[in-house]
């Protein structure tokens, strides 16, 4: 095994982890605090990608595209909360699943009507499209490093927001006992709207970051939602710290599985058998991980203390 390849695979895993964290943070907050099962969370990822691609193509600048798409996502989040989600907090989970599944269909069809069935893509500015030498002999795409940096910054910002600010304190209090927080005169409804919109923005940012790598396409949100659910379940529902660590673990396991499993299997199996079984097993790895973790810690790695 050569060490430069190992380093670039670790970076690849980190980049996937960061992306998953951006998605998981919002989902885990909404589920942990509002007790709302939001299957449509992946749709924000898709909408973020489309908005960013559209603005970027209009203005011919990825940076401006990002800067415009973020407030637009905030708006999408707020409107969705006010129109639909707000009315579902007190309903049971089955109703929420049905309603948010309906939201997925609405978002998918809207995107289909506005942008058509073909995906949307754009090219990165030349500065970001190249590679950089991170360690001697290890070249890594600049843009993927940028994703890692942005993701870690957002994680830090989120930590500071939740742990160090008044809003964060209210969010934590709201998670523990929303009725009491309301009785103390805090506008809990607005707080919920804010948290939901924050989740939408984070998912949107993940979509914006991935758009130049893959593309904005219909259904991209559904594909990633399942892995995101795995992440928040491993991390413990409602825990941002848990979802951060779980996202990194899942990102690394998935990437390393894709990279090394066939070589490992070739040690024990014939070439032919290893070649066919490796892709199948590597796509199962994260689910196996989830099953193992749930066996030992049914509440996930870091369940919030309040419940």
């Amino acid at each position: 095994m050569n060490s430069t390849l190992v380093i670039s695979q670790l970076l690849n895993g980190l980049q996937l982890g960061v992306l998953l964290f951006l998605l998981a943070a919002g989902l885990t907050l909404v589920l942990g605090i509002m007790n709302f099962v939001n299957l449509a969370h992946g749709s924000f990822y898709m909408v973020g990608a489309y908005l960013c691609a559209t603005f970027t193509l209009w203005l011919d600048s990825f940076l401006l595209g990002l800067l415009l798409a973020i407030p637009a996502m905030l708006l999408v989040g707020v409107v969705t909360e006010l129109l639909v989600v707000r009315h579902l907090y007190r309903r049971d989970h089955l109703d929420q699943v049905l309603a948010s599944f309906g939201l997925i269909l609405v978002f998918d069809s809207t995107v289909h009507m506005v942008w058509g069935p073909a995906g949307l893509t754009f090219v990165l500015p030349a500065v970001l499209n190249g590679q950089v030498t991170v360690f001697p002999g290890v070249e890594f795409p600049v843009y993927r490093l940028l994703i890692i940096a942005v993701g870690l910054l957002v994680a830090l910002g989120l930590y500071l927001l939740v742990a160090r600010t008044r809003v964060g304190m209210l969010i934590r209090a709201g998670a523990a006992n929303p009725v009491m927080v309301g009785a103390l005169g805090v506008d809990i409804k607005t707080l919920f709207t804010l948290v939901f919109a924050l989740g939408a923005v984070l998912a949107g940012i993940a979509g914006m970051l991935i758009a130049p790598i893959t593309e904005a396409s219909i259904g991209m949100g559904k594909d990633i939602l399942i892995i995101t659910l795995v992440v928040i379940i491993i991390g413990g529902i409602g825990s941002i710290r848990g979802s951060f660590i779980a996202a990194m673990v899942v990102g690394l396991i998935d990437t390393l599985g894709r990279s090394y499993l066939d070589d490992l299997l070739k040690l024990v199996l014939s070439n032919q058998a290893a070649e066919t079984s490796a892709p199948a097993i590597s796509s199962m790895l994260i689910y196996i991980l989830m099953a193992v973790i749930l066996y030992f810690r049914p509440e996930g790695l870091f369940p919030p203390r309040s419940r």
Binding site: L16, P117, F122, V123, P141, I213, I218, K222, D223
Partner: protein
């Protein structure tokens, strides 16, 4: 009251079909949702164009085409095929982009004694052990195109090849095809997750390609995965280092998007195919110019094959003068391949797959600056798939 009205309406609907003169009914299964919908749209547009050009008539009968969406999933494709066969009672089941969908749907159509025509999917099993007297293809057997590309790699002196394909029936056939003719060493091979939640981020695999020391990279990524792959190939810094050779990836589906995104790395890249928009046959000139006039874009090979599908069916129905019960007559007519095909004159092998030419294509801008593929040379003349010998017809 409402319930009674509904019941009466339902009864009326059930009673009507047999009462009228027969139409030629064609069920067309393709993908109309998910990211692959763009392929389905191209096929649908080509079918509609062909119908328009033949005035909606075959052998004096009106033609009904029922489009169904397989949702990119074999099990849904099979359900839709069942529905077309049982409740719509179609005469022909056609379409099928994906080999796994075709394989799952095969029995539903063929066991019911219907004609099945694949407008794209070319699973090798259909050419060999599952070949059927009522199955026809207007495309190719999967491994033929990569076999042609393997010959090109040999001629260019490629010694070490890295292979990346999606992990499903066609992906495996494509890898087998190139491995069959390529004489050098395969230094690495990745099969990535495919289907509804297909893998679109190839970071780990591209890092492996880079470290493998290969002199060429072979890929098969149809639909939206192709555009994503080429972008990441460029971002990973492989352009100019490890040349890219592809089959069914760089086409009129992915090129407009790549051009919009100004991904110049794809210009000059080479692929193999039985067809290209500039293929010089009378039917193809007519097809490409009318398709461009009607829809404002180049047709893809999916569209070309779907267009051929309608003309193949027409040749069968015309031959029996609209007597749709004459299955033997229609089959004999189709076996002659006596219809204007975009690929020019060709014949069918005994497994009902075309024996046809394969060309080397290169991506270039056309006279208006639109990126398209152009034929560089002929790789194979009248090539027959190797599975035909396993077909017991």
């Amino acid at each position: 009251m409402k319930r009674i009205v509904v019941a009466v309406a339902l009864a009326a609907m059930l009673a009507t079909p047999a009462a009228f003169a027969r139409n030629v009914k064609i069920g067309f299964v393709t993908t109309l949702t998910t990211g692959a919908a763009v392929i389905g749209r191209d096929m649908q547009d080509a079918v509609n164009l062909a119908l328009e050009q033949i005035g909606g008539k075959m052998g004096g009968l009106d033609v009904d085409v029922i489009f169904e969406d397989d949702g990119f999933k074999p099990e849904i494709g099979k359900q839709k095929t069942d529905k077309l066969v049982k409740s719509d009672d179609v005469d022909f089941v056609a379409g099928y982009i994906w080999s796994n969908v075709l394989l799952a749907s095969r029995k539903s159509a063929l066991d019911a004694g219907k004609f099945m025509i694949s407008s794209n999917a070319g699973a090798s099993q259909m050419a060999g052990k599952f070949c059927n007297k009522n199955f026809f293809s207007t495309s190719w057997e999967n491994s033929q195109t990569p076999m042609a590309l393997g010959e090109v790699l040999n001629r260019k002196g490629v010694k070490k090849l890295y292979i990346m394909v999606p992990n499903y029936a066609a992906g495996k056939n494509m890898a087998t095809g190139v491995e069959r003719t390529f004489k050098g060493e395969i230094v690495g091979k990745d099969m990535t997750k495919w289907g509804k939640s297909a893998q679109l981020d190839f970071s780990a695999e591209l890092s492996k390609v880079k470290a493998s020391g290969a002199d060429a990279l072979f890929i098969f990524y149809p639909g939206k995965a192709g555009g994503a792959f080429i972008k990441q190939y460029e971002q990973a810094g492989l352009v100019g280092k490890i040349p890219l050779y592809s089959v069914f990836t760089v086409d009129s589906i992915s090129l407009p998007k790549l051009q919009k995104g100004n991904l110049k790395g794809v210009l000059g890249s080479q692929s193999a195919s039985f067809w290209s928009p500039d293929l010089d046959t009378p039917q193809n000139r007519k097809f490409v110019s009318s398709f461009k006039a009607k829809y404002g874009r180049y047709p893809s090979f999916y569209a070309a094959q779907s267009y051929d599908t309608i003309f193949l069916i027409k040749s069968a129905v015309d031959a029996v003068k609209g007597n749709l019960d004459d299955m033997d007559g229609m089959r004999a007519a189709m076996e002659k391949a006596d219809f204007p095909s975009v690929r020019g004159k060709f014949r069918y092998g005994r497994n009902h797959f075309p024996i046809q030419n394969f060309y080397l294509l290169q991506v270039e801008p056309d006279a208006d600056g639109v990126w398209t593929t152009k034929i560089v040379e002929t790789i194979y003349k009248d090539h027959q798939d190797i599975y035909a010998s396993k077909c017991k017809l």
